[in-house]
Each structure stands twice: as structure tokens, then as C-alpha cells.
């Protein structure tokens, strides 16, 4: 909600500066951002009463002297004999209508109205709609203006009996369904989607000088979610959803008329108001000891009373009367929160807390931790996937309201998620992929859940001269699992076909899934227990392709083997992603050592060029050529 600092401060006698006001709003729990002179406030859903200038001022009254002498129309109203039938009294327990006719439509607005439009950069519509919008901004109560001649023979509020198209005053057509709460005219046409938006057919135009203004209290439950359902932006719905003040109708109409009167002559005013059920005013027992017990404070009764009175509460015979605009207050804890806000959460002192002993039990089994350690020690990386999938199985649970209609089932295994992860990495030139995921899965008639580990591998075993040419396959996986006393008799290794997989790789894909139930055992003990690290600074990764170069050296002077390795493996440049030795052997015939280095280059800002790679290779060659007894066969 956008509120102008200027509009708030002109009603505050102390005239605080914007930062001071901002600090106080924050203390009250009204989180916001400041853009120039505008507060963009994100109110918590329980504070619908603060969605207006008046509402915020009621809260700010804790800290400042508020000028509440707002001008109101003072005369009596004539009775409006309006033919209105309420067939939804439960969802609309109070409604009022004001019939008002003016002599002339004003050409310009007074300073108050002009400032509202200019400060908040709002677009004007027509006189009555503009006044209605201003009143909502000032008082928090949405009103709706109908062209009087269009509904003069009466209207009904009811739940729609059959589906009907409806054109909103913003010219958007929506399909209403049976049961939607609507206002209907005598021709059984929907003229207003109750509490959300009025219809085009009865809306005010630039030349409208005779209107019927509707002011209603709708139960929040009747409005919640409706604007989103119809993809409508509705400030009225936002306010009704959070609860408006059922006692404000007359005040709102008097203010409405006052604004009209300040612009033009009024020729007729009539008012209709019906309350269909009594609004119960909440009361809470006033007990300063309870407040102090909840907050851990030592406030006096008088202090508590002062804070509450400043917030609009009254206290009679140890009972706190809750104002009609505060739907969120019904208990001593609510009252304690009001006191805490007044005091400032940051001004409440800390007090230490003792813990008690309990029997420690592991939520995650030791075997699961052991298996995880085994995989990490062997170069596997853990992934986490969401459970949504396009694949329907017999036992799949279907999401009623999926985010993506194509992924509306819950996975029953981890294979497809892991296969997607593998392909994603293959497409990013990864040639040694070892992934695993541990997750609960849910299936129909599976109570309560099944805990699984999925393991997927493809490509090289590792990036070193011993493992570079070895391929990840079932044998590799069974070898590493067999050394860890896993009860592996029923492990089902699966080789996944590449038939429908869109990558160039021809490496074998092996998958294994194990249920981590009570019978699962893994006795692997790691030499390097894993510490959870949260103090690593992540270096953003590149989304551009990498370029690989291999340098194969022939070393005759063996003492230079180590300096050669040290130089290349320690060579560092922002474009060098990784380097390792992929080949090493002693050629007895020639009495020389062959050593191959793989260098992978990648830029973070663009696709790396041949020239960039060649320049770096040139530097490495230049430096390594200085070592005696070293050559690169074939290099001119």
C-alpha cells in the first residue's frame, strides 16, 4: 500500500521527519520501503485496519499528537427508500447506500484531492469514482458508485444461481460461476462482483451527476481468494479480505458528502442502511500481571493503560473494550503484543533460558550417514530435486492444483530426476558425473513414506592419470559399495538406455536405487568425517562453454618431472577452470617419461576464443620449455 508522507504528517501536530516516521512505523510492525516521499507499506494480513491514512494515524497516536478534526457533513440524512434485497446476510451482515445528486461536475479538485492524485501518481477517472477512491485511501472503507439511473428500480445481493458472463468496469470479461457472490439488477444481470469490482453497465461516467454509493461490510471469508481467482487487481478486495470496520458507514458517508460539498452543490442526499446481524464487540480482561508474564517485563498498570488508550482501546471495570476496527484482538496475548509494539520489541530486555535433558535419538540412521560418507569420499555430489514429475505410475499421487500441469504427479522413485541432472551436466561438458540424492517418496497406499537413495553415474571414473581412461559402470559402483559391508544381495543395478536421450555422449549410464529402511546396513567408516561448512564464499559459475587443450610432454631429465607438474598444476588464471594430469607412463625403450596435462578454459563473461586459449597455452609452453630435458613431441 502506497501512502504519502505528506498526507500522514499534515495530520500529525509534532511534524516528525520522514526517517523518524519510518522508524515508528517499523516499531509498530509496518514494514515498508521509502521512495521519495512515498511509503510503500507491506502490512501484515491481520492489520487490515491500517490500510488507510486514518488507520496508520490511529497506530501512530502512540507516539505523536494526531489532529483528528477532519471535516464531516453535519446535517441529518433523508431516508432512502431503496428496493434492496439481501439474500446473503451471512456474508454481508451490514450494508448502506447513499443517494446523492449534484448540480454540476467540478472542473478541478480541491488541494486535498489533487494532492492525493499527484503525490501517488494516480490517474483520475470521473468525479464520483475519484472521491470514492480518495475516501478509501483516507478511511480504509471501500465504496462503490453506481450511476443512479441504472439501478433506481432496485438491486439484490445473492449467490449467483447459474453461470453468467460479466464485464467489469475496467472492460474485462470474466465468467462467473454459480455460487459467486454478486449484486444483480431487476433484469437478473450481474452488475457488481461483490467486494471486488463493479460492472461496466452501471459504472459512473465523466458526466455522471447522480449516483448511488454502496458501502458494505463483507465477511473476509466471502471475499478471500476471489480476486486472484478471476485475475483481477482489486484494492477493495484486498481491504475486505483483511476486514473493514463495520461501524464506519455513517462516518464514511459524512466524509464522502463533505468532500463532494467542497467541490459542488448537492441537490439531494438520501441514505439507506441495514444491519442484519449484531456485531459483537470483543472484550478482554485487563491484567497487567498477565501482560508482564507474557512479555517478561515489569510495566505498571498505568503504563499499560496509557498505551492501550492511545491505540483506541477503552477500559471499564478491568475489561478492555476492543475497537470495532480491530478484528485481530481477542486474547491477552494479543493485548500483550499491542503493549510490546508500543514499548518497542527492541526495548524489551533479554532473559536467559535453561534447557532440559532428553533422550537423544538419531532422526537419520547411522547407515545412511555412512553411505553418504562413502559416496562423498568417492567423488559423488549430492543433489536435491523437487518431487514433481510428468510421469504417471500406478501408485503416483496426483497434485490437485499443480504449478505446472505437465508435472502434476509426485515421483515414486528418484531415477528420472537424477537422469535429468545427469543430462543437464553432460550438456555442460561434464565428462565425469557421479550424483546421488536421498529423499522420501510418497505413493498411494504407502504409509507413511519410503526413504530412498538414488545413485547415477556416467563418464570417466576420475580426473587423474590412473582413472582417466576408466569408465563409470556397474562394476565400478558395485566395487565401491562392496567394500562397505552394505547388505547388497538385492541391489539392482540398472543400465539406462540412451535411445531417447538428447546428448552426444555415448558413455554408459548406470543407476542404482536403494531403500534406506530399517533393514538397510552400511558399515563404511570414513577417514575424513564431513564437517558442514557454512563459511565458504561461493564463486559464481560460468554459463558459457569451455574449451579443452591437452599438453603431452616427453621428459628425459626425470628430475624436472616435478617442476613441470608444479608449474602447470599451479598455473592460475581467471580463464583456466581446471587442470590435471590425465596421462603418465615410463617408456623404457626411449628411457623417457610421457606426461599429459589436460587444461580446461572457460570465460565467465563470454564464449572463450581460440586466441584467448592460445595466448595462455603460449605462456605455459614458453615457461615449460625453459626446463631442460623436456619436449613436446610434434610441437614446432
Amino acid at each position: 500500500m502506497k501512502i504519502s508522507y505528506k498526507h500522514l504528517v499534515e495530520r500529525i501536530k509534532d511534524k516528525p521527519n520522514i526517517q523518524d516516521l519510518s522508524n515508528k512505523l517499523l516499531q509498530l510492525g509496518h514494514e515498508h520501503e521509502i521512495d521519495g516521499d512515498i511509503f510503500d507499506i507491506e502490512l501484515t494480513p491481520n492489520r487490515g485496519d491500517c490500510l488507510s491514512i486514518n488507520g496508520l494515524l490511529r497506530d501512530l497516536n502512540l507516539f505523536y499528537c494526531i489532529n483528528d478534526s477532519v471535516k464531516l457533513f453535519q446535517n441529518n440524512f433523508n431516508k432512502f427508500n431503496f428496493d434492496f434485497t439481501n439474500n446473503a446476510k451471512k456474508d454481508c451482515p451490514k450494508i448502506s447506500f447513499l443517494k446523492i445528486q449534484i448540480e454540476e461536475i467540478p472542473e478541478s479538485y480541491n488541494q486535498e484531492m489533487e494532492s492525493y492524485f499527484s503525490e501517488l501518481s494516480l490517474k483520475k477517472n470521473n468525479f464520483f469514482t475519484d472521491v470514492s477512491n480518495y475516501i478509501s485511501y483516507e478511511t480504509g472503507q471501500p465504496t462503490h458508485c453506481y450511476e443512479a439511473s441504472k439501478i433506481s428500480d432496485g438491486i439484490r445481493l445473492e449467490y449467483l444461481k447459474s453461470n453468467q458472463s460479466f464485464k467489469t468496469l475496467h472492460d474485462k470479461s470474466i465468467e462467473l460461476k454459480e455460487g459467486d457472490l454478486v449484486f444483480i439488477n431487476k433484469n437478473n444481470e450481474v452488475i457488481n462482483l461483490a467486494g471486488i469490482i463493479g460492472g461496466e453497465s452501471t459504472s459512473c461516467k465523466k458526466n455522471t451527476n447522480y449516483v448511488i454509493v454502496e458501502c458494505a461490510y463483507f465477511n473476509p471469508e466471502a471475499i478471500t481468494g476471489k480476486a486472484i481467482k478471476f485475475a483481477l487487481q482489486s484494492e477493495a478486495a484486498h481491504k475486505f479480505e483483511r476486514g473493514v470496520d463495520p461501524s464506519c458507514h455513517e462516518y464514511v458517508f459524512r466524509r464522502f458528502i463533505q468532500i463532494i460539498e467542497e467541490h459542488t452543490n448537492i441537490t439531494n442526499i438520501e441514505m439507506f442502511s441495514e444491519t442484519y446481524s449484531k456485531f459483537k464487540r470483543n472484550t478482554v480482561q485487563f491484567c497487567d500481571q498477565s501482560i508482564n508474564k507474557i512479555l517478561g517485563t515489569k510495566l505498571s498498570k498505568e503504563e499499560c493503560e496509557k498505551y492501550l488508550k492511545n491505540l483506541g482501546f477503552s477500559i471499564n471495570e478491568m475489561m478492555i473494550n476492543i475497537p470495532s476496527f480491530r478484528h485481530d484482538i481477542s486474547s491477552e496475548n494479543d493485548i500483550a503484543e499491542e503493549i510490546a509494539r508500543a514499548l518497542g520489541y527492541n526495548n524489551i530486555e533479554q532473559k536467559s533460558l535453561d534447557f532440559f535433558s532428553f533422550d537423544k535419538k538419531n532422526v537419520v540412521s547411522t547407515s545412511e550417514i555412512n553411505l553418504k560418507n562413502l559416496l562423498i569420499d568417492n567423488g559423488f555430489n549430492e543433489v536435491i530435486n523437487d518431487p514433481f514429475t510428468a510421469i504417471k505410475e500406478k501408485t503416483s499421487i496426483e497434485i490437485d492444483n499443480p504449478l505446472d500441469i505437465n508435472r502434476r504427479y509426485m515421483r515414486t522413485n528418484l531415477k528420472n530426476s537424477l537422469l535429468d541432472n545427469l543430462i543437464y551436466n553432460e550438456k555442460r561438458q561434464q565428462d565425469s558425473i557421479k550424483l546421488f540424492e536421498i529423499s522420501d517418496v510418497y505413493k498411494k497406499s504407502l504409509s507413511p513414506k519410503k526413504r530412498l537413495i538414488g545413485i547415477i553415474i556416467s563418464g570417466r571414473v576420475d580426473k587423474n592419470h590412473q582413472d582417466f581412461t576408466k569408465k563409470l559402470d556397474t562394476k565400478y559402483l558395485s566395487n565401491i559399495l562392496n567394500v562397505s559391508d552394505i547388505n547388497s544381495s538385492d541391489l539392482k543395478y540398472e543400465v539406462i538406455s540412451r535411445t531417447n536421450i538428447d546428448t552426444q555422449s555415448k558413455n554408459i549410464i548406470t543407476y542404482l536405487e536403494i531403500e534406506l529402511g530399517d533393514s538397510f546396513v552400511c558399515n563404511y567408516l570414513t577417514d575424513t568425517p564431513k564437517q558442514n561448512k557454512i563459511d565458504i564464499t561461493y564463486i559464481p559459475i560460468s554459463s558459457f562453454p569451455s574449451s579443452t587443450r591437452d599438453l603431452s610432454y616427453a621428459v628425459k631429465e626425470f628430475s624436472n618431472c616435478k617442476p613441470l607438474q608444479d608449474y602447470i598444476l599451479n598455473f592460475s588464471h581467471e580463464l583456466l577452470k581446471e587442470s590435471y594430469i590425465f596421462d603418465y607412463f615410463y617408456n623404457k625403450k626411449n628411457d623417457e617419461i610421457k606426461i599429459g596435462f589436460r587444461l580446461v578454459f572457460q570465460s565467465k563473461i563470454s564464449t572463450i576464443t581460440e586466441a584467448q586459449v592460445n595466448e595462455l597455452i603460449g605462456i605455459i609452453l614458453e615457461e615449460t620449455k625453459k626446463l631442460s630435458g623436456i619436449s613436446i613431441p610434434g610441437l614446432k
Binding site: N333, V363, N385, D440, N464, I534
Partner: protein
């Protein structure tokens, strides 16, 4: 006797894998809280409306219960939990106070944009005993924040709203660039929730807090886009 090949042979460097950064963050926080004195409890991701909403004083009209916010399954007979609080409800129904539980894990909301994902991780804690109050809650929160971000961290409390706590607060920390960053929510357990869980709110009171693991991980590691955690990119994962 060693051969020429063996003497000059390079060291075989084996790649060590990594635990997912979100799990590292989650486990670090859970372990630290456990050492503080919280008992770790666990519960299902597939929940009922009763445990996920009703028992926690989240009324039928609350926007979080709408189809546009919560994933429902099996014709609304169950849902994917929207927070880890139902685990604590189950814990409170099983055990008598005094008690101190933490639970952590995956939660689901119908969101998907640059700052929200349909699945993310939460850790929530609850402490129920005689005469615990907002001052004690502040002590606990300071302890948690200092454990995560260091003892020099500047903290502020702001009033907020959660149906299951009253009073409720959100906690911000001051970043190096002078901005306040929201890191967790907390409050005094609403007596309605205690009563729902068969705990006499006249005898006992409770403290509760909850934090988003991704949020903490992003701040700690310096990851700017929450989606990076779930792309399963090896270049990303290997850094942790």
C-alpha cells in the same frame, strides 16, 4: 626397488564429492541447535489440513489455505506441508512439557519465481515450559543469530503476524552494506495452539522460531539466485 616410473609418478588426486549446500546449512543449524538443547524430531511431508493449518490456528479464510498457495492432493484430502510446524504439533501431542523440539526439512508452496521456489527448506523450533516469555525468546534468538552470523551481528526485532504465535516478530540482521536483512520469524506460541496440542496454556507457555534454510545459505555462501541450488550443476555443487 622402486622403478623410474614410480619415483617420478604424480600423486593420484582423487576427487572428493560434496554434500548439497542446503543440506550442509540445514545440518549445521540443526546440529548447533541440538547442542544447545533442542531435540530433533521428524515428520511427514504429506500432511493433513488439520495438522498443517487447523491445529496451528490458521483459519479457513487464511490466504495460505487457498489453492493458489498450497499444493493439495487426492481431492484436498491431504496437502504438501507448507511449513515444518505440523511436525511440532505431532511432537507436542506425543510428549508432555517441558519440551524443546526442532524439526527441519522440505516444505512446499505454490510459488515459482526468481526469489521463490515451490520446494524449499525450513527449520523450526519450539520450547514449551512454565513461565517462558518474550524476554526469553529474545535471548534464544540472539543465541541463534550469533551462532550463525557471529557475536558482533546487529539484530533488530519487528512486530509481525503468524497465526500460531502471539506476539510475533520478525528478526533482521544488519548486513555489511548497511541493509537490514530478514532472517527468521519467531514469537510466543499462541495459547490456542498449546490447547489444541493438549497442553494447558494456563500452566505452560511456549517460544517458537522458524527460519528458511535457503535464505541463510544464500547469505552465508553469497549465492544471489535461489534457483542455483536446484540446477544440480556440478560446477556449482563442487564448490561446497
Amino acid at each position: 626397488m622402486s622403478s623410474v616410473k614410480d619415483i617420478n609418478s604424480p600423486r593420484v588426486v582423487r576427487t572428493i564429492g560434496s554434500i548439497h549446500p542446503i543440506n550442509q546449512t540445514k545440518d549445521y543449524i540443526m546440529d548447533s541447535l541440538s547442542m544447545m538443547g533442542f531435540e530433533i524430531i521428524d515428520g511427514p511431508e504429506l500432511e493433513t489440513e488439520e495438522y498443517n493449518f487447523d491445529m496451528l490456528n490458521i483459519k479457513h479464510s487464511h490466504p495460505a489455505r487457498q489453492m493458489h498457495d498450497t499444493f493439495y492432493v487426492n481431492n484436498k484430502s491431504s496437502l504438501l506441508r507448507t511449513h515444518t510446524s505440523p511436525v511440532q504439533v505431532r511432537g507436542m501431542l506425543e510428549k508432555k512439557p517441558p519440551l524443546a523440539f526442532i524439526s527441519g526439512g522440505k516444505v512446499y508452496r505454490k510459488d515459482d519465481d526468481a526469489t521463490h521456489l515451490p520446494m524449499f527448506h525450513q527449520i523450526e523450533g519450539i520450547y514449551v515450559s512454565k513461565d517462558v516469555n518474550f524476554s526469553n525468546l529474545k535471548y534464544l534468538i540472539y543465541k541463534i543469530v550469533f551462532m550463525l552470523f557471529g557475536k558482533e551481528t546487529k539484530i533488530r526485532f519487528r512486530p509481525s503476524y503468524f497465526p500460531f504465535t502471539e506476539p510475533s516478530a520478525e528478526v533482521d540482521i544488519l548486513s555489511e552494506d548497511g541493509k537490514w536483512l530478514e532472517i527468521l520469524g519467531c514469537g510466543i506460541v499462541n495459547p490456542i495452539v498449546l490447547n489444541n496440542c493438549k497442553i494447558d496454556s494456563n500452566k505452560f507457555s511456549g517460544l517458537a522460531f522458524g527460519l528458511g534454510v535457503e535464505r541463510i545459505a544464500m547469505l552465508k555462501y553469497g549465492v544471489n539466485d535461489i534457483r542455483d541450488f536446484y540446477k544440480s550443476n556440478l560446477d556449482f555443487l563442487k564448490q561446497f
